[in-house]
Structures are given as structure tokens and as C-alpha cells.
Subunit: 327 residues, 2 copies
């Protein structure tokens, strides 16, 4: 039994490089409401922590609740996280975030227990606990957005690894001399199948003189392109967008096959902004490529599915984290 049954709500926070999303959940983890704030990462660590606190307070207020009714707050942060001490060890997309005691500082501002996790681990936990009711013994979450990250549920629990960085699947090399990745290497999964990779290929083709509806929609420099634009172009029969997204889906399938060969999980769930926008376009190719690239016999009964949580995977997982930690 929880200490105080009136404290029956949880807040899940998805801290990203550009936005902070906070969601208020009841004790059954039904979403009551959300609030979004821009991160303003350039204002520095303390300013961002204050914005997280403000976002939580506003979300709670939006639901006509009070912080005193919140039993726990979970936060998914983009980087390496020490889940035990609640420190962000390093967050490449948040300038200045090195060894930041986020849990301690947020608890001061919010007067409620805070629990911290890596963003992709937290998303995976949300998918595992809420979308799959914690039933699979082993589940891999893959999130394809600007980059590619993942989380591993092994033997029914999040697996963190020696330096707490397990699940960095985006930097698995799958094409040794492939395109350059942000990490400095070549041919990483992320450099082949992320939104960044898709946009890079399309921009290069346009520069090369290839035609696409995307330039009609967005102008020659394609500066404001989003995953949804790709979907629209593909549905209108655009050949370039179709070809590039297809290629990314095939690479994604090979990445999934590698993970199935190594870990042989029961379920692989694919999510993130790219999949949210392009599930119908990408999943059939992704699944076909995965089946072609696993060891014969290893995939019996293994499912590859698109997540239905969409943009809420992060806040849902963060709320699960808080509920598990305060159970």
C-alpha cells in the first residue's frame, strides 16, 4: 500500500533537446492532461530545470489538481543517466549538461519524489508496461526520430549495462563504409534510417536535379521538411520520397534483424516520430527486410510491431517509472 492514498497521481516528463512534455496520469495510468514547453536549452542547466518544474506544475494545474496529490514524477532525459543517484551524466543535445543532479534539484522545486531514466529506456518501459501489459519477458524498443535510440527489457526488466548506456542501438554499424554519422563513424544504423538520414538523401537528390513534389510543397531548400511531409508526398505518388523512405525502412529492418540475432526477444516494438508519421509506408518493408536478414529459424513467433503510443511513449514510460518506484 502506498503511504498516502490521496497521493494517487503521477507525472511523466519527456525532456527533449527542443521541448519538454509533461503528462499527468491517474493511479491506473490513464492520461489526464499534458503541457508542453520549449526547452530553451541555451539558457543553461538551471534555467532548463526550472522550466521542467514549471511544465510539471502547469500540467498538474491544468488537470485541476495540486502537487500534493502527486505521488511521484518520472523524467526521461536524452543521454546517459545514473538511475540510482538521479544524475544526468551527459546529454549531447543539452549544452552544459554534464553530471547534473536533476533528481535532487527537481525535488527541491517540486516537493515530490523524482525518478530519472534515459529517454529511450523510459519510452521502452512505457511500451512494455502499458502497450504490452508487462507480459513479454524480453522486448526491444526502437525509436526512430532525428536519431535512433533503443531500450532493452530483458527477463522482464529494463537492462542498463555496465555504464548504464545499454540500448545505444543507433550506433550499431551496419554498413562499414556507409554515410557519415554524427558520432564520427560511418554507416551507423542512425546514419542510414533516421529522419536525419532520410532528409540528407532527399536533399542530396534534389541538389542532384531529381524532381519531387516536396520542393513544390516546401520550396527548393526543403528547410521546414517534417516526416509528415514525406507521408503526404508518398501518398501523392512521389517517386523520390517513396524510394528514399523505402531504403530507410530496409535499413531499419536490417537493424532489427541484427538485434533479433543477438538478443532473440519476444517482441520488437518500433516507435518514434518517423514511425508515427510513416508506419503504413515503412513497416511492411521493415518487417520483410528483418525476416530476410535473421538467421533461419530464429524468428519463429517473434513479433515486430509499430508502437501505438506515438509521441506519448515518453511521458507514459516516465509515469510507469514513477509508479514502479513508489509502489
Amino acid at each position: 500500500m502506498p503511504e498516502n492514498p490521496s497521493k494517487e497521481y503521477f507525472v511523466g516528463v519527456d525532456l527533449g533537446g527542443t521541448k519538454i512534455l509533461a503528462g499527468v496520469f491517474d493511479g491506473k495510468l490513464e492520461l489526464k492532461g499534458t503541457t508542453k514547453l520549449s526547452t530553451k536549452a541555451d539558457r543553461g542547466v538551471d534555467a532548463v530545470i526550472e522550466r521542467i518544474a514549471r511544465c510539471v506544475k502547469e500540467a498538474v494545474d491544468e488537470c485541476d489538481l495540486d502537487l500534493s496529490q502527486v505521488r511521484g514524477i518520472g523524467v526521461g532525459a536524452p543521454g546517459a543517466v545514473d538511475t540510482e543517484t538521479g544524475r544526468v551524466i551527459f546529454a549531447p543535445n543539452l549544452p552544459g549538461w554534464k553530471d547534473v543532479p536533476l533528481k535532487k534539484n527537481l525535488e527541491k522545486l517540486l516537493d515530490a519524489p523524482v525518478f530519472l531514466g534515459n529517454d529511450c529506456n523510459v519510452c521502452t518501459l512505457g511500451v512494455f508496461d502499458q502497450e504490452y501489459k508487462a507480459k513479454p519477458r524480453d522486448l526491444i524498443g526502437i525509436f526512430i526520430g532525428t536519431g535512433i535510440g533503443g531500450g532493452l527489457i530483458l527477463n522482464g526488466d529494463l537492462y542498463h549495462g555496465h555504464n548504464l548506456t545499454a540500448g545505444e542501438i543507433g550506433h550499431m554499424v551496419i554498413e562499414v563504409n556507409g554515410p557519415k554519422c554524427g558520432c564520427g563513424n560511418r554507416g551507423c544504423f542512425e546514419a542510414l534510417a533516421s529522419r536525419t538520414a532520410i532528409f540528407r538523401e532527399i536533399q542530396a537528390a534534389v541538389k542532384d536535379g531529381q524532381e519531387t513534389l516536396l520542393t513544390d510543397m516546401l520550396g527548393k531548400d526543403l528547410s521546414d521538411m517534417r516526416s509528415g511531409d514525406l507521408r503526404k508526398a508518398i501518398r501523392r505518388g512521389d517517386k523520390l520520397a517513396t524510394k528514399v523512405v523505402e531504403a530507410a525502412a530496409e535499413f531499419a529492418g536490417i537493424g532489427v534483424a541484427n538485434l533479433i540475432n543477438v538478443l532473440n526477444p519476444e517482441i520488437v516494438v518500433v516507435g518514434g516520430g518517423v514511425i508515427e508519421a510513416l508506419a503504413d509506408e515503412m513497416m511492411p518493408t521493415l518487417i520483410k527486410a528483418a525476416k530476410e536478414h535473421v538467421m533461419p529459424g530464429t524468428m519463429t513467433g517473434i513479433e515486430i510491431k509499430a508502437s501505438k503510443l506515438g509521441d506519448n511513449a515518453g511521458i507514459t514510460g516516465a509515469a510507469v517509472l514513477a509508479r514502479r518506484a513508489t509502489a
Copy 2:
């Protein structure tokens, strides 16, 4: 306490496509003696099972012991294995081996409890338990021989996965359009860094007219080439052997980096016939390539080591399996 303290010995069996190796170990897992028999896989399933039993009996007799003094027999088999029922589900290198009740049949012939595992899992267990005294929480074993296989120790225990095929690291794709692999795909780890891959590259180069001491040593067709010949050629300054082995070591390092990015284990141990023969030649390049291909920061404190168990990893791990199962 074991039921009968006079039953203080264990037998570990390494069942391979070409040979069966059985080792007798005392209660502290010190190796007392070994016996080797050829597998004669073409004689069929029953004949091979009888040969395993004979190999065990001869090893026990060789040590002046009796089967009644054996508490348990462990067997590492090359393929997918159901560890609970003791059945070999499928073994690609043993013709006819499909759903074979190896445990049951061996127990009939040997009148002692038999425990079954996948060969690379068993080797990893041997390395973990005996070479590393079961101290690391997470350890990956990689075995480079004719093929490449692996085993995962996660949270202190062997991890099997949904279809019991976890650790099939040899078929992780690391060069999408790379050389053809035995599994039908291209650019698998095994097609780039195994003995088969090294020999293929050397034979192709010789056919192409490149010179190498290996043809002086072994004749133009290089038919009897072994990993040890490569070592001799490299130590005598052979440029082709050096270049090809170096390239394989670099691919092996990329494979290791992929596994560190995904699983972030405490220790990666590399073994198998190729490493046993060429550790000095390959490990520095392998470790350098791995460090260059992991996400920055993920490798702090993680060790990559060559196993010292050599050809005995299989029998040692099988004995560990038997000891753990009868403890």
C-alpha cells in the same frame, strides 16, 4: 549438499561437426584428463550419440575413474538447443539432427544426469565461471573459428532469448553489400572475420596472382591451411597474410563495438580457434577498432580480452553447466 559426496566428478563434452572432446573434471573443476573422437556425423544421429557416450566412458576410464563417480555430464552442442527438455532442436553442421532428445538418450547409455547447452553459450559459461570466477555481472563471449558464435551472460546468468537462439552474433550484418555468408545474406560478421572469411580472401588473392609464403608452405591450392599457418606466415613477414588477418581483426573490432553499443557489458571475451592461434596478431587491432566504433563514453571501464581457455572452453563450460545443475 550433493546427494552422494562420492560422486564428485563432472564430465564436460564439446560436440562439434568434426570432433567430440570429453574432459573429466574434479569437484573444483580442475581438468583431470581428456579424450577426443571424430564425430562421424555422416553415420547418423544414433551413431553419433553412441560415439559421445563412448568418448565420455573412455575419458573417465583414462582418469582411472568409474562412471559411478560422475555426478553430472554437460554437453555443448552446435545449434539451437532446448536447455529445459535437453533436446537439440536443430544443428546445421550435424546432418539429420532435428529435434533429437540427446539428454534422454545419453542418460540411457551413461546412467548419469546429462545437461545440454548451445556450444557457444557453454563456452561463454566456462569463460565466465572459471576464467572470470563468475564476478562480472554482464559478459559477452565471442568465438571466432570456422564460423562466429557468441554467448551472453546478463545479470549474472546465461541469457537464452525467446527461441533460445540469443547470441547468434555471427549473423549480425555489418557490411550491407559485403561478401556472401553461408546463411544466404551478405556482410554478416561471420562472412567478414571468421577463418572461412580469412581463407576466402587469401585464396582469392592467390588466384589473383598475389604472392604469399603460404603457397610455399602449403602448395598452390592452400588446401590444408590452418589458423596456425597464418601465424607462421605473418611472423615471417608475409604481407598478404598480414593484410588479410588485419582486415578480419578490424571487422571483429567493429562487431565487438556493435555489441558494446547494444549491451554495454562489463567484459567482452574473445576466443575460438582463430584467436587461439592469432591473439597476438589480432587483438591489438581488434581492440583499437572497437574503441573507434563505440559511442563516445560507452566504453569506460569495459575490457576486451582474449580468452585463455583455448580449445578447452567448451569442455570447461559443459562441466560448469553440469556442476551448476547438480549443485
